[in-house]
Each structure stands twice: as C-alpha cells, then as structure tokens.
Symmetry: C2
DNA sequence: CTCGCTGACGCAATCGTTTGCGTACCCTTA
DNA sequence: TAAGGGTACGCAAACGATTGCGTCAGCGAG
C-alpha cells in the first residue's frame, strides 16, 4: 500500500506537511503544496480511513440496521440515505436485522465494533427491545426509522399513520360503505398499531361503529386467507383497507381467485403505493409513503445528533400523499 | 470507550493476555481465561475493529458498489449478499454508483480508502471504464456482479441472458408469431447486448428474420413510447419481448392506454419476474432472474479471491427460470 | 546588534490492537 | 543440583495517520 510516508519522501517533505496539505489544516507554502499534490497524484495515494479513525476517534461512517425484506420501498430509502450521507462525506454500512431480536442485536454489535459514528435503526417488532437500552448506555447516536415505538428517548422519523388511515377510511365511508375491514401486518409493529388506531378514528368520523370481526392482523402470507374469512362473515365487508404491501397483494390475489371485481364488488384502498398500482385493473388507490423524505430526514437528524449528542429527542412524522385511483370505487 | 487496557487492568493481566484470550490465539490458563472473560462481560468491551485493522491489515468488510435504481430485485440481492457475508463474519459497506462513471469512481475510492478487503461491483454502462484498471492496479480483489463486460480479467457472476432470451423468442415463434419485437434498456449495458443477441439467436431458431425496425433500445421511460412506434409500423409486431423491468411496465402502460388486450392482441414475455406478475390480467410470462444465487455466488467468489488473489478469473452465469403464465397467449 | 515576530515546516507522542521475542517459574530427570 | 523442557505470561515494536509543540530562518524595529 502507498502510505503518507511514501508521498512525503517523494515530495521531499515530512509526513506532517503531507497531512496538513491534504487536510488543509494549516498554511503551507504554495510550491510545497504543489509538490505534495503531484506526489499524491503519481503515487495514487488514497489515504487510510482506518489509521485516521484511530487517532481522530470518528469514522465518518454510519450504520443502517433494518430488516431487508421484500419491501419495494426499501431501495428508495437506501438511495435517499446513501445520497444524503455521501453528500456529507460519510459512508454507509448496512446490516440486516432479519426482524429478529437476536439478529438485530448482532447487527448492532457489528456496527458498534466497526465504530460507526451513528446508527439508523428500524427496530424489530418484538417488544423486549434489548438493543435500545444498549445503544443508549453506549451513547451511540441513534435515530429510529420507520417504526416508532413510544417512550424511547431516541430521535425518530417515520410516516404519519393515524391521520392517513383515518382519511382513507373516511373516504370509504363517504362513498357509502358501512362495513369496512382492515387487514394489517403483524401485531407489535408500531406502524400496524397506529394504522389500526387511525382506522378506528376514521370509523368514528364516518359515524360507523368498530367491529372486531372486521379487523385482521397477522403474518403477511395470511392476507389472502384473512380476506376469505372476512368475506365469509354473515355481514361481510364491502370495502377493505390493506395496511401494508403484502396485505395488498394478498387481497388482490384472493379477490382474483374468487372472481371478485375490485372497485365494484369490493372497494379497496391500500397503504404503500407501488409502481404497478396503475397496471392492475382497476388501478389501486393508495397512500404513497414519503420514503425518500424519511430517509433524508433521518440522516439529517442523525448528523445533527452526532454534532450535538445532548439536547431533547425529536420525533418527525411525514405525511403520505394519497394516490387516488379507481379501486376505491371512484370512477 | 472501554479498551483492552481497561479489561486487562480489571482482570489483573496484561493486554497481551486479553488479546490472546479473546482471539484464542495461544493457550492461556483456564482461570485466567475466566477472569478475563468476566472482565469483558462487566466492562461491556466490544473490541475495536479499527485498531485491529490497523495492525492486521484486513478489515473484514467488503464494499458493494452498484446503481441503487428502482430495480425490485435489488433488495433480494442485498439480502443474499448480506447473509452470505455476515455468515463469513464480514460486514457490508454500500455505495451508490448512480450508474455514472464519475460517481462510480468516487464510490470505489471511498471504499478503497475504507480499506475494504474486496469489492463487489456492478459496473456502469459507460464504456470508458476507468475504474476497472484502477482496481486492477491497486490489486483490490473484485467480483463483477450482474453486468458482465468482456475481457476484463475479473471474476464475474451474472445471469445467463443469451439462452434465456433465445428460449423466450422461440416460444413465441412456436406460438405462430412471425413479427416479434424486442424492447430493452439502454445500449452499452452488457445485459442488454446479450439479450439482443439471444433475441437474434431465437429468431434464427424459429426460422424468422431479424428486422431492425422491431428492435427498440434506450432509456427506460421511453418503453411505452417505443411500443407506440412499433405498433405504428406498417407490419406491426404481434408479440413483444420486454428486456427489463421498466420495459415491461412501459409496455403494459402503453397497451392499457391503447386498449390493447395483452395475450390475444399482443403477446408479451418479459425478463425479470416481479411479485405482481400474477396480479395483472393476464398474468405475465417472465423469466425469474436468480438474484439470490447470484448474490451468494458473488460473495463466495470474492472471499475465495481474497484468500487466493492469484489464480485465473472465473465467470459464472446462472440460468433464470421461466415463469410460464398467460401473457404469451398460452391458456 | 539584538530582540521579537512571523511564516514554514518537522519531531514525536498518541490512538487501540496484534504478535515476535523474552523471561520467570515449575517440574522432571540424570 | 544443574540441565532441560514445558507452561504461562509480559514487553515493546509495529500499523498509518493526526496534532501539540518546537525549531529555524528571515526580517523590520529599536
């Protein structure tokens, strides 16, 4: 490898000077700068982040720990996070939590031993969050992304769920639906809980009563099955809210299998807009989550937290935008 | 931070011994081991990958540089790469190339300065690959993923394109189509080129002639437009091969806009299977790219290359599997 | 002529590990 | 009792940067 010493010798100066030239950290005579820069060029010197980190303490890298699921939005989030991060001169270390507590713990520990300057974390669904206290105790600057448990003293960024779902439900109510079902992801995820809350609020605003029969939550592969169950009720729903992407797919699949016409036979609105929303018939009405904004905001908050470790934790909720199409029954 | 010195003092031994206990790198008396481990436990010592790397030279981290596009398969690739990597005790550093040569260069340089043990790279489409020689000169173990330029002396892993596309075309030919169009991504990408080649081969095997009019390639957003142009021909195609995901979406969009019935009015087959392939009507026939296998193979090849830097470069092509559905016109 | 100042640069300590040599001790054996 | 061979551990030199102090030359002022 080509070290600073090599550059220094070639330029005929000390490594101190090379360091100062590269980091512009103290004035150096112009021609010396020239010689050093030339030496850097000919040697192809890249610098050594490892050695630098050892002495400065920081690594200019942050860790992103989340479940690498099939969520179609994930790429957009990664892109936003990476962009914001590299713009700030940091690099991104990725770790899959698999949405399991122990894997999450391992992921975070790996990041910590890599000495990341901060961590972006989408916590697992399991309630016994052992990793959060650990991060707090270790004093690792952390921002929670997407899912937002309550009363953690951490910074948090995520979508606004309550209002969004409420609006969705109210819209269905305004279209005359009286039996509106909700199919969400597994319990325990704050997102699902918030959407369930929004659902109830929306029902209230539409002057409808909440009926436990109409709410299905659980592992995603059961969404199709859940719909079957709902339709078998004595008073089946005439509209359904798909709380996440797998739920949407499950509903569409089940509807198709039963020859149900979405929009007329069964109204459908979904969270998580997808790029193929307009390619199915009818096009599905959905809320587009502001993932890119969430990613950017998370990075900015983390960088601020790193710069200023103390100071009150902040929570940011970004509103989704409604992509109003036809699956809700509107023409 | 809690260092090895802290652990050593608490355990009443030298840091040498602590190091040896932790790394199991030389025999240590059993009770000493116990004291050290206990000290590690109470201090919460995590080790410092930075300092370790400085002396050992390796970082046990590898860089993944690729365009963070909207490719729905990307998440699957990431998951596979991460899984294989963490299983081997490495961590993943992600860098977006934006599919632009200079961004790619910056990404790779960032990875290099972070001293990654190796690089997984999906090279940009631009021909003037300045980054490959740089990697070669620097002796960075590298595996090219997905796209496979020719005559680079690098290890490569990617999908098999020629045969796959050829089979797709032949299938259409067997269904009686005589005018088969191809819509691919931008030129210059080896993947697109290979699929174009497979297209020609398939035509030959179906005893059809190649017609320049029937081939459209270019930036993805033009796929819909490209289809319009094709349909306006005096002898329009009766079948179309969508060479990538954006092309598929474009074709579906355009067909829908024109009220064209896929399957009967226009047969359609696509590369890149998607999770919503069965949700559109008719379900789209597509080749499912073996992304997970590609990811795993890439990591394994890279780790082998790191262990054994010399040795001939290898190229691995993994065959996609055909998901035969109805959009090709089959019942 | 000397003092002080300024601009330009180098010395050497430091960061937290790993690891090649040593050393100290104990136990056997002759 | 001394030689020889283990066993158990510590010393100190790297690794490649950053950075607080120094040093040194040149120059204008008193």
């Amino acid at each position: 490898m080509v070290t600073m010493r090599d550059v220094a010798e070639l330029a005929g100066v000390s490594i101190t000077t090379v360091s100062h030239v590269i980091n512009k950290t103290r004035p150096v005579a112009t021609d010396t700068v020239g010689r050093v820069l030339a030496a850097v060029e000919t040697t192809g010197y890249t610098g050594d982040a490892i050695a630098r980190s050892l002495v400065t303490g920081g690594t200019r890298s942050i860790g992103l720990a989340l479940p690498l699921t099939g969520d179609p939005q994930l790429t957009a989030l990664l892109r936003a996070v990476d962009a914001e991060l590299t713009a700030a001169g940091h690099t991104l270390i990725l770790a899959d939590t698999h949405d399991e507590a122990d894997r999450e713990g391992a992921a975070v520990r790996a990041l910590r031993s890599r000495r990341v300057d901060g961590v972006l974390l989408t916590p697992t669904t399991g309630a016994p969050e052992a990793v959060l206290p650990e991060l707090r105790k270790a004093g690792v600057p952390t921002v929670l992304v997407g899912r937002m448990p309550e009363h953690t003293g951490f910074d948090q960024v995520g979508p606004e769920n309550v209002q969004a779902t409420s609006d969705l439900v109210r819209h269905l109510g305004e279209l005359g639906h009286r039996r509106i079902a909700l199919i969400t992801g597994p319990d325990g995820v704050s997102t699902a809980a918030e959407r369930a809350l929004g659902y109830r609020l929306g029902l209230g605003r539409a002057k409808l009563v909440w009926d436990a029969e109409l709410v299905a939550s659980g592992p995603s592969q059961d969404a199709a099955e859940a719909l079957e169950t709902l339709l078998a009720l004595s008073a089946p729903p005439t509209a359904v809210v798909a709380g996440d992407n797998p739920a949407l797919i499950g509903v569409l699949r089940a509807a198709r299998r039963r020859g149900l016409r979405i929009g007329s036979d069964l109204a459908l609105v979904a969270h998580e807009d997808v790029d193929w929303a307009e390619l199915v018939d009818p096009a599905v009405t959905a809320t587009a989550q502001p993932v890119e904004e969430i990613g950017r905001a998370a990075v900015r908050m983390l960088l601020e937290r790193i710069a200023n470790p103390d100071g009150p934790p902040r929570t940011v909720r970004l509103a989704p935008t409604l992509m109003h199409r036809q699956s809700c029954g509107c023409p």
